[in-house]
Symmetry: C2
Amino acid sequence: MLKVSILSIGDEILIGQILNSNSKWLAEKITQIGCSIAKINTIGDSSNEIISELNILLPISDIIVITGGLGPTHDDITKDVLCNYFNDKLIENNTWTKKLIDQFNQRGMDLSERNKTQAFIPSRSTLLWNDFGTAPGMLFNENGKLIFSLPGVPQEMVNIMENVGFQKIIDLLNSSNTESIIYKNIQTNNIPESSLADLIDIKEDFLGNSSLAFLPSYRGVKLRIGAYGESKSQAEKELSRIENYLIPRIDNYIISFDERPFAQIISEKLIIKNKTLAIAESCTAGLLSATLTDIPGSSKYFKGSIVAYSNDIKNKLLNINNEQLEKYGAVSKEIAEEMSNNIRKIFNSDYGISITGIAGPSGGTKEKPVGTVWISISSADITFSKLLNFRGSRDMIRERTVQSTMVEFIKFLK
Amino acid sequence: MLKVSILSIGDEILIGQILNSNSKWLAEKITQIGCSIAKINTIGDSSNEIISELNILLPISDIIVITGGLGPTHDDITKDVLCNYFNDKLIENNTWTKKLIDQFNQRGMDLSERNKTQAFIPSRSTLLWNDFGTAPGMLFNENGKLIFSLPGVPQEMVNIMENVGFQKIIDLLNSSNTESIIYKNIQTNNIPESSLADLIDIKEDFLGNSSLAFLPSYRGVKLRIGAYGESKSQAEKELSRIENYLIPRIDNYIISFDERPFAQIISEKLIIKNKTLAIAESCTAGLLSATLTDIPGSSKYFKGSIVAYSNDIKNKLLNINNEQLEKYGAVSKEIAEEMSNNIRKIFNSDYGISITGIAGPSGGTKEKPVGTVWISISSADITFSKLLNFRGSRDMIRERTVQSTMVEFIKFLK
């Protein structure tokens, strides 16, 4: 296995000002490629700490991915420390200087001396192109070990890794011919863990050195395959073998592969069908709409939504009969179904989705406790509705409602 | 300074399956108490790795906070490894056994052998009460150094630290009479970094060993005070001294202290004023509504919203004149102002907020590139509007629009 360590440099992570989402993203992607993560460490912007950490990580790692400390200000020291550590010297990269000059000129500014230093990189390192920032990434190759130095801004780090970084890791993996584990996730829904296990019915020696984990969550049970091989290509073959066995057995329950967001799946389905959607939200107050429109191009199918908190507004804007609201209560099958049908008509869309529930912390009753949510999905022909029951905080109830509604909509579109 | 290291143990963090929110939370809280964080490290559930990490961290730390690996299953090994590392032996804690028995009985179950082992802790460690789980926390005191071992479940870890953990750290801090730095954040807005620096006009020797950082973001410039003292109480005095100097000078630009979310500030202001709000969103498609209703009790002031993507719907649901849409375009001062006034009237609310813009990646023109956003806020008497220009991804443009709109609304409510 190629061992990868991830090192975040930055006082703002160390003092808890920001969440280290870079490390999670890197760990997940690098694991999926088939490497193993040795350590994920965070240290401050200090020369001594960077050096002592390199001394710890280099002997136990084939690859080190460093993020942070590449900005133009005086506390950004990563580049200089690495340059000294590898006994190298900084030289100007003319392509990058030109890029910086162009970029500043476009904004009607001259390239400042401070920013000009960002075009200087250690002579033996490879410049990694950064589409979004003034600091390029750098790649050191020291005795066959790869050391990446990347900006800490998530968008820039992701850009560099997706453009060129992961390919460098894959190349090393392919050439090193070392053992490898490739992970793959299969998201299922609407089937309990035990029934899924019965359905899959794996014989004792089927997995060998590979693994299969069952990870239940409110999205449904996720299966994580860890396919082992003595090389990357062996691991890929092993993954195919396991998938070919698994997938036909559980096809009806598969929602997605590899954590593709539900909003993305919905987007693709609606575009293929050339259908449109409108939403009426109560307790989630726009969260489903915001989640579905996270996808570029969503204006093709998303017509809009109405957030109606009070009965008053449900009546006035969603044309819900006051007597019905009185009779069934706002959180009911009847009102949910009327909401999904009415919103469809108001927006003249093909599908209507509605959510009405109690997110808490107040507003619950004995019959309808906090976490009671009715959702409905309608087309001109079919009206579907479902009662959801969640526990947890307001946040969790709203988030789970949105996820579950998307799952139901994906099934509705099948 | 007391040096604290944070060590997360768990394969699920190492493979990037979950975000390490525990470490961020601990780092932030411990920094606020006045300790400094030496390292934040993550390793897998492996005995060798835990031992080698303890060997690295113990010499450089006064306190180590370990999370994870305390569950009842075979891959939870933290307790046994620590017990061996400190040459201790496990003994039963009868109070905990009784708690477990009671807890299982309440669910109509007997205490399993597997769970019973959770009541055994190293003889020289102190049990730290956990209100929410079956694994207690443990505190080791080795030659004056504190080593916490806590469950990885965030709710349980937080519970233990808030009940007893932080107090143990504060006690050590007070008794050790060591130097201390206390951090405090002040969020400003509507003033550039350089003007803020001019306004504050700090004389060379004013800060001494303390620090003042300017942290610009799309929320505005955040000031981070690091107040240094030779003891915790000295640092507190120093913080007061700096605050007393700073705050009167920049009062007009202060939005909040200590990272209180903007939605929380808005909530408090609207409740005090007893006023209501409705929102018309275009490119943000419900994200502002969802963000504002994240706050429990938001139904007191939030009446609802309409998400109108197309001109068609803007006309039909927001009563925007088609000729005006034609004349000015949907992303314009005129349409934004009409949207904020109309939504206020439709929902019969005291305030109306509107957002209309181009989140991209497509839909931009030369005159109105991606990232062009008009927002408007209206009351019966005043109509305010503002042009925002953002760069970046669709996500970033939507998120920044929502944050900036909340800032403008806070100012509008002043």
